[in-house]
């Protein structure tokens, strides 16, 4: 009966298992649930950086789980709460219903859900959005294209990406009314191989400036190899192509996390008053930043080219694209903003009037936007 011995070993391990450490917690414990790996250099990486900053700034303790499948958010929330979390933040749209169900099951725990639209007295929503920055990037791209074809490698044809692409295309056309924005879809948030393929295909089509939504610096690197300019996405990617990256989009989720959690610590937010708390934070709140590197809105390598390009605008007369970008940036960094790219009249690429004159798109209109802005070339699933 040799195998009896192995049973004995297992029994010993079980005995070990039941003797757990009893920990007394005084700091507020905050649990984060991520949809991707923290090393993705995109969405999840940025949330994790923000978590670390929040932990340094505030007297809190944090836990995180990465690569959580959408339907597994409920058991993971259970586990985070068992580990002592009093606040749980979930960072993917697909976590919405699971987070809401758990918010109802644990009325004394505070929940936050990024990018969704369902709330509860103990569950708020938050989003740091880039559309203003894509507009600024578009202005620069319009000035830099020689072929008149600007490329966009898109992750998924969903409203968030369509909105960013739309703002980007409006920017391109504001400077270069004849330019097109050629689109390729990856149907993945992280897929360097497909991103490389898409970039090469767009180069073959004649595109010579690149912007994208994908959680790796692939597009930047492939474009740089051909000596073509690109715009960094989500994380600081200028370091991957110091000559190639013109500008880009950077996020500061910590602005939201620190604001919310300090209000929780101060007793302002609790499990009964979050029903209407919805952070939709942009440039003015400093949740988003323009640039391919923190603190560098435009790569100095490209400044002179943008200063040499002139554009005629109704509002400012003739000025350089560099000055136009800086003026628009200043306008959008004010509260309330003095400029919004989605102010009518705007027709879509089929000629249908989408934003009437004098109207600026509301947050709901922005988050449900399906139409394609003029100048966009390529497939557009669910085009209205």
């Amino acid at each position: 009966m040799r195998w009896m011995k192995t049973w004995l070993v297992v029994a010993l391990i079980l005995a070990f298992a039941t003797a757990g450490p009893g920990l007394a917690q005084t700091k507020l414990k905050v649990g984060f649930i991520y949809v991707g790996p923290i090393g993705d250099y995109g969405w999840t990486h940025a949330h994790n950086q923000a978590r670390l900053i929040a932990e340094k700034t505030l007297p809190i303790e944090t836990l995180y789980v990465e690569s959580v499948p959408e339907a597994q958010v409920e058991p993971f929330i259970d586990k985070l709460i068992q580990q002592g979390s009093k606040v749980v933040l979930t960072t993917s749209f697909g976590f919405m219903d699971g987070t809401l169900a758990m918010a109802k099951r644990y009325p004394n725990i505070l929940f936050g859900h990024a990018s969704g639209f369902k709330r509860n007295p103990n569950m708020f929503t938050y989003m740091a959005d880039f559309y203003q920055i894509y507009y600024l990037n578009g202005l620069m791209a319009g000035a830099l294209t020689k072929t008149g074809k600007v490329a966009y490698v898109g992750a998924f044809p969903i409203p968030e990406v369509k909105r960013h692409l739309g703002a980007f295309a409006l920017g391109v056309r504001a400077v270069n009314p004849k330019a097109t924005v050629n689109v390729r879809w990856l149907f993945a948030w992280f897929d360097p191989a497909k991103a490389k393929e898409a970039t090469e295909a767009l180069i073959a089509e004649g595109a010579d400036v690149f912007a994208f939504t994908e959680d790796s610096p692939t597009v930047v690197q492939v474009a740089a190899k051909k000596g073509l300019p690109s715009f960094s996405h989500y994380s600081p990617m200028q370091r991957y192509a110091p000559q190639g990256v013109v500008s880009g989009q950077l996020v500061h989720w910590e602005r939201i996390y620190v604001d919310f959690l300090s209000k929780v610590l101060a007793g302002k937010y609790n499990a009964t008053n979050l029903q209407n708390v919805d952070y939709w934070w942009l440039l003015a709140e400093k949740a988003a930043e323009v640039g391919g590197e923190f603190g560098v809105p435009i790569n100095p390598v490209w400044v002179s080219k943008l200063q040499a390009a002139k554009v005629n605008t109704k509002e400012f007369g003739t000025l350089s694209v560099y000055d136009l970008v800086m003026r628009r940036l200043a306008q959008m960094s004010k509260t309330p903003v003095a400029f919004d790219p989605f102010t009518g009249p705007i027709r879509d690429r089929k000629g249908v009037l989408r934003v009437p004159a004098g109207h600026t798109m509301t947050v709901l209109e922005l988050t449900t936007m399906e139409w394609a802005a003029p100048g966009i070339v390529g497939p557009w699933p669910k085009e209205p």
Partner: protein, 384 residues
């Protein structure tokens, strides 16, 4: 029989149960020792790690039902695979069959005029038919055109994956979901009831156990079962005996695909309540079911145990991620090591190593004398 130094190695076609359990436990312990080194180098005390894993899964009221929740799809797909492997049809396509079942069930739930009372039964029937159809195509290709079943079933997975992706981004995208790639939520009548406080959709679980017992009965006690077993042992013998390989293979694959299809119904009807990104619907259950069937060694009843074991493996990784704050990759390595050792130790089961230093070698054996392949154990080793 073969000699290696002072040892004698001989075949043992029917290992006793104690030997099987003993070798498997040793394999698990070896895997734990090996991953212990990884934990230790990551800075976590291995014994504490195992304690946390076992306490967090088997001794945790919230986590234990999750083991069953994961086991359900792998049991259904696994029972189908046991049968397919017994008939020597190498079905790698359970993943696609799961998706086909999920898609068919979604059509019934959201787009068919079926009255509420019949929704659930119709979803299960449609899911079975959908999965069966997905399994039927490669079976027909093999029988008629001698297309390799491993390749064709594997490729059918990708077809199903892109089909689901197209549906949720295109025609089935739900108007309630604000443009995100999900269908609308299933109406309450199309949601499979859960055991209170858990995510065990019990109807699917009962179906899985019933199918496991049913297949065991068919294999052991019916003419069809006899034909499947003979064909699995030797297709030549089966032909001499007048067994129609067309009939048995098609029946087997209709069942295997259908069972996997039921697993898909359980996932969308019991867990997600909608169709969504294919990689979120099935977390690789169709591939994990191959291991379930392999470890079950041709016995459908044993698949109940092996699917629970795989369920434990899935949940143990989750516990490590939260309670030990380990990166997802480290937990994947741990899971991989356990399965690697279990499958790797398989061959050990069918050989006996004996200490016999005194006996001289009478005649030199041909190289590979001991390598007389006993065949995949699932085919000849089972006794159901």
């Amino acid at each position: 029989m073969m000699r290696v130094g002072p040892f004698e190695i001989e075949r043992r076609p029917d290992p006793p149960l104690t030997w099987i359990l003993g070798v498997s436990l040793l394999a698990i312990l070896a895997a734990m020792a090996m991953s212990g080194v990884i934990f230790w180098s990551y800075g976590v005390d291995p014994l504490r790690a195992y304690g946390v894993i076992i306490r967090g899964t088997l001794f945790n009221a919230k986590a234990l039902p999750e083991v069953v929740r994961f086991a359900i799809p792998m049991l259904l797909a696994g029972v189908g695979l046991v049968l397919a492997f017994r008939a020597l049809f190498w079905n790698i396509g359970a993943e696609g069959q799961i998706l086909a079942g999920a898609t068919a069930a979604t059509w019934v739930a959201l787009f068919s005029p079926v009255p509420d009372a019949l929704k659930l039964p119709m979803m299960f029937i449609a899911g079975f038919v959908g999965g069966a159809l997905w399994g039927f195509i490669p079976a027909l290709l093999k029988l008629r055109l001698a297309v390799n079943d491993v390749i064709s079933t594997l490729m059918m997975n990708y077809i199903a994956l892109y089909l689901v992706s197209w549906l949720v981004h295109g025609p089935w995208k739900g108007p309630e979901m604000r443009g995100f790639a999900f269908t609308n939520e299933f109406p309450p009548a199309a949601q499979i009831p859960l055991i209170a406080g858990t995510r065990i959709h019990w109807i699917t679980l009962v179906l899985g156990i019933a199918l496991a017992l049913g297949v065991a009965f068919v294999l052991a006690r019916t003419r069809l079962g006899f034909e499947i077993r003979v064909q699995g042992e030797s297709s030549d013998a089966a032909r001499y005996a007048g067994i129609d390989p067309m009939r048995t293979t098609l029946l087997v694959m209709l069942f295997a695909g259908g069972a996997a299809g039921l697993a898909g119904v359980g996932e969308v009807g019991g867990i997600h309540h909608r169709l969504l990104d294919p990689n979120q619907i099935s977390l690789g259950f169709g591939y994990a079911a191959i291991i379930v069937a392999w470890l079950a060694r041709g016995s459908p009843v044993a698949a109940i145990l092996t699917s629970l074991f795989l369920g434990f493996i899935f949940t143990s990784g989750d516990v490590m991620k939260v309670a030990l704050q380990m990166p997802a990759r480290v937990t994947d390595v741990f899971n991989g090591l356990i399965l690697f050792w279990l499958i790797g130790s398989e061959r050990l089961l069918f050989y006996r190593v004996r200490w016999a230093p005194g006996r001289a070698v009478r005649e030199p054996l041909p190289v590979g004398g001991a390598g007389a392949d006993p065949g995949p154990p699932g085919i000849s080793g089972g006794d159901q």
